[in-house]
Amino acid sequence: MAEKIGNVWVFIEQEGGKIADVSLELVCKGRELANRLGVKTEGLLIGDKLSHCVDTLYHYGCDTVYLVEDPRLEPFTVLPFAKVIMDMIKAHKPNILLFGATHKGRELGPRVASEKLAGLTADCTDLQIDDFDDKVNKQFYKDKLMQIRPAFGGNIIATIVNTWDDPQMVTVREGVMKMTEPDTSRKGKLVNVKPELTDAEMVIKVIERIREEKAVNLKGAQIIVAGGYGVGGKENFKLVYDLAEALGAEVAASRAAVDAGWIDHDHQVGQTGVTVRPKLYIACGISGSVQHRAGMDESLKIIAINTDPGAPIFSVAHYGIVGDLNTVVPLMIKAFKAKV
């Protein structure tokens, strides 16, 4: 490949002018990939009245910010966003394009990939640059994006490579890429872009839109107390809340507890919930399915409390307590209060 390779692009997701955490995580990761390839990190910021977001993107690592503003781009609808991104790809030919695996990213990414006839890998949990020797088709690809993701309900981890022409597109799970400290002295280049929109993209009408910021912040929590199906009922979740309160922790849950209606989905940790890596994760009555472990097994310390000594959660725990959480949890609260 004598041709100069394209840059690393990040779709910057924002809501009401606030940049989504996952986009900043991806700018940090994008920076790392771009450094490895010797290219630039560029952010694609789309919406209306967003110029105040630009400096933050430089601070986290963008060399360039393409700012695309138009009143028709607010609130988000998928068709005009896809049109803008397609036009930008055609004009600049990026090598890599990263989306957060959010609701928006997961409906926008495939729409763009389909039109571009590009590959797209969903829900990646890691990205690396490496060569790909395709022995079946006798092709060698240099410096490709290794798109690493769990599949089969989290029972396998697949490394996927996009072998067609650029960009190599992926969506990346929230919370898995580490956000590095912003450098407020960093500066970049702003490119204002006038979008070319037609009536054809404006056929989706937003009649009503209700949303609120999540009340729970699991991603930022240092200590998490999580309850599973073994908690036994909605009332008994009080134990989990009591322990969390005593330790200054956030409350989380497994999918089984959420599906049972004992606690809200915002609290769910695992494959279809949030990925966390706190200092301490206390799993109360959680059996530890692959799907749940995928969201918490990087916690620095894990305590598992379960009546079943064969529960898979014990295999990832640093401390295992085989016992009834109705007796164990009050003992923990009492012991902690006595020490501090």
């Binding site: 389909s114 797209l120 089969f152 396998i156 209700i210 301490l280 295999s315 902690f336 020490k339």
Partner: protein, 298 residues
């Protein structure tokens, strides 16, 4: 019968309820041992289509791409209330990624033709990508509404639906025809006993031929007559190859798939050094002491 709704469904291995029998001795999953089920959110898509049929009158056509035994999910759809079923099956489709899959389904939708709505489950539990719905919408140049919870209104020109967004919901209105992906927000109806009695006889042409071969009875004329008889009673499941659907051979299967799997690693239960703590006041007191002294707590 004022609307025509296509529902695309998938037969998937049941990755969510993996029992001990599906685990190999090395702690990895034996994928072949998993039972094949109707993808859960595709049942929600079918349910939504059937609700629209109840409310407004519609013909519901269910389609799937898969191996010959994927006809099972089509029969299951007929038991629940679908009117017709199409199996898109061909070895040439094998190894398709989401782009090649959405292309094949777009050919299938075009051959079915004349639809007002296409519904799909948001994602299938074997890959969890949620990509095929939006890609199919793009291939057919349709507007899409993803993550649909319910349809509020349908008239000859528009559909108005409530859908989930991060941290809330939206009500969107689009012109028909349109595509919607549906999430787990309704309760799929059970199979209907009378429909089950009727449609358990539904067959694809290859299944019928196989039945005859198994009965050691290969009279071509009799086979054709029975096929005609089943078709008259609405019991033939359409079976289309890539050529039937006019799919470009370059754009399907492995050939039409830009993404390649470089390697696959089985997730193995990590045998970490875990320390067992006695569930006694003393054991727990020591644990808390340890966590406070190494600054994990306090």
């Amino acid at each position: 019968m004022s609307y025509k709704i296509i529902v695309f469904v998938k037969q998937v291995p049941d990755t969510q309820n993996i029992t001990g029998e599906a685990m190999k001795p090395d702690g990895t999953v034996n994928r072949a041992a998993l039972p094949a089920i109707f993808n859960p959110e595709d049942l929600n898509a079918l349910e939504l289509a059937l609700q629209l049929k109840d409310r407004y009158g519609a013909k519901v056509v269910v389609g799937t791409m898969g191996p010959p035994n994927a006809a099972e999910v089509l029969r299951e759809s007929l038991y629940r209330g679908a009117d017709e079923a199409v199996l898109l099956t061909d070895r040439a489709f094998a190894g398709a990624d989401t782009l090649a899959t959405s292309y094949a389904l777009s050919c299938c939708a075009k051959k079915i033709g004349d639809f007002d709505l296409i519904l799909c489950g948001r994602q299938a539990i074997d890959g969890d990508t949620a990509q095929v719905g939006p890609q199919l919408a793009e291939k057919l140049n349709l507007p899409q509404i993803s993550y649909v919870q319910e349809v509020l209104e349908l008239d000859k020109r528009h559909v108005k639906a409530r859908r989930e967004i991060d941290g809330g919901y939206e009500i969107l209105e689009v012109k028909l025809p349109a595509l919607m992906t549906v999430i787990n927000a309704n309760e799929p109806r059970p199979q209907n006993g009378r429909r089950l009695m009727k449609y358990k006889k539904a067959r694809t042409a290859s299944e019928l031929a196989k039945d005859h071969a198994n009965a050691n009875y290969t009279d071509a004329e009799a086979l054709a007559a029975e096929q005609e008889n089943l078709a008259e009673r609405g019991l033939m499941i359409y079976e289309w190859t890539a050529a039937d659907a006019k799919a470009d051979p370059e754009r399907i299967g492995l050939k039409g798939s830009p993404t390649k799997v470089k390697n696959i690693q089985n997730v193995i239960l990590k045998a970490s050094e875990s320390k067992m703590i006695d569930p006694t006041a003393q054991g727990i007191s020591q644990l808390m002491h340890e966590l406070i002294s190494d600054h994990t707590l306090g």
